[in-house]
């Protein structure tokens, strides 16, 4: 049995989704569910439209990589049918419409948890992976507050 690939990365480089999916594909893989997060250039804040010039992402890289690995391990523990996993967070200055994060979960078939696993992966990444973003807009800059209380 071939070992399932796990790709974990914090990177300043553009996300190449074609390449990342190819890297987690085994001969027995038939289905991949991927979540891509992107910089929103237009958003609603308390009902008012707001514009973003860019986001500045930073990470505590060694801890972030350890936590990405933890997310992948949690996925494998919950959905044993998952084969390859890629979890990649891009950092640096990122402009609207740019992909910032990819979570991809591969499996032989589409009905053994790939969708739930990718969903869980992005939720956990946003809870526990030490990455922060500062939003820069026409009216100045502000750190974006996390959705969650931090985790373990």
């Amino acid at each position: 049995m071939i070992k399932s690939p796990t790709i974990i990365k914090i990177t300043e480089k553009e996300l190449d989704i074609n390449d990342l999916l190819a890297k987690i594909t085994l001969p027995s893989t038939g289905a991949i569910c991927s979540f891509t997060g992107l910089v929103r250039g237009q958003t609603n804040r308390d009902g008012f439209p707001s514009e973003t010039k860019y986001l500045e992402y930073e990470a505590y890289i060694p801890m972030a990589e350890a936590k990405l690995k933890q997310v992948a391990e949690e996925i494998r523990a919950r959905w044993p049918a998952i084969q390859g996993i890629a979890i990649v967070q891009r950092i640096g200055r990122l402009y609207p419409e740019t992909p910032t994060v990819l979570i991809a979960c591969a499996a032989a078939h589409r009905d053994t948890g790939a969708f739930d696993a990718a969903r869980y992966g992005i939720d956990r990444l946003k809870e526990i992976v030490p990455v922060w973003k500062k939003e820069v807009g026409p009216e100045g800059e502000a750190w974006v507050e996390g959705e969650h209380q931090g985790g373990k």
């Binding site: 801890m63 350890a66 809870e127 990455v131 922060w132 373990k152």
Partner: protein
């Protein structure tokens, strides 16, 4: 005394004005002892320090955790990646 390195990220780095500080701490210092020490030294950053998460050697640390010699500690706000 144990020398430890404290890394600072995001608002913590902005408010304290350093990326990294070094502290000599008594042995057996716990995570919960750290915030008063930092607040005393950087009173202008008190609110951020109070709200900060703390990691020890790349793992989230509970207040009761003892900080080992040579540890890499970090303080940062709630995460907002993705």
């Amino acid at each position: 005394m144990n020398q430890i390195t404290i890394k600072l990220f995001a608002t913590l780095r902005d408010h304290i004005g350093e990326r990294e500080i070094r502290l000599d701490l008594p042995q057996n210092t716990r995570v919960r002892d750290l915030k008063p020490i930092l607040t005393a030294r950087y009173p202008a950053a008190a609110a951020s320090i109070e709200a900060a998460l703390v990691s020890v050697n790349h793992e989230y640390a509970l207040p009761k955790k003892q900080i080992p010699a040579g540890a890499e500690v970090a303080l940062f706000p709630h995460v907002s990646g993705g």
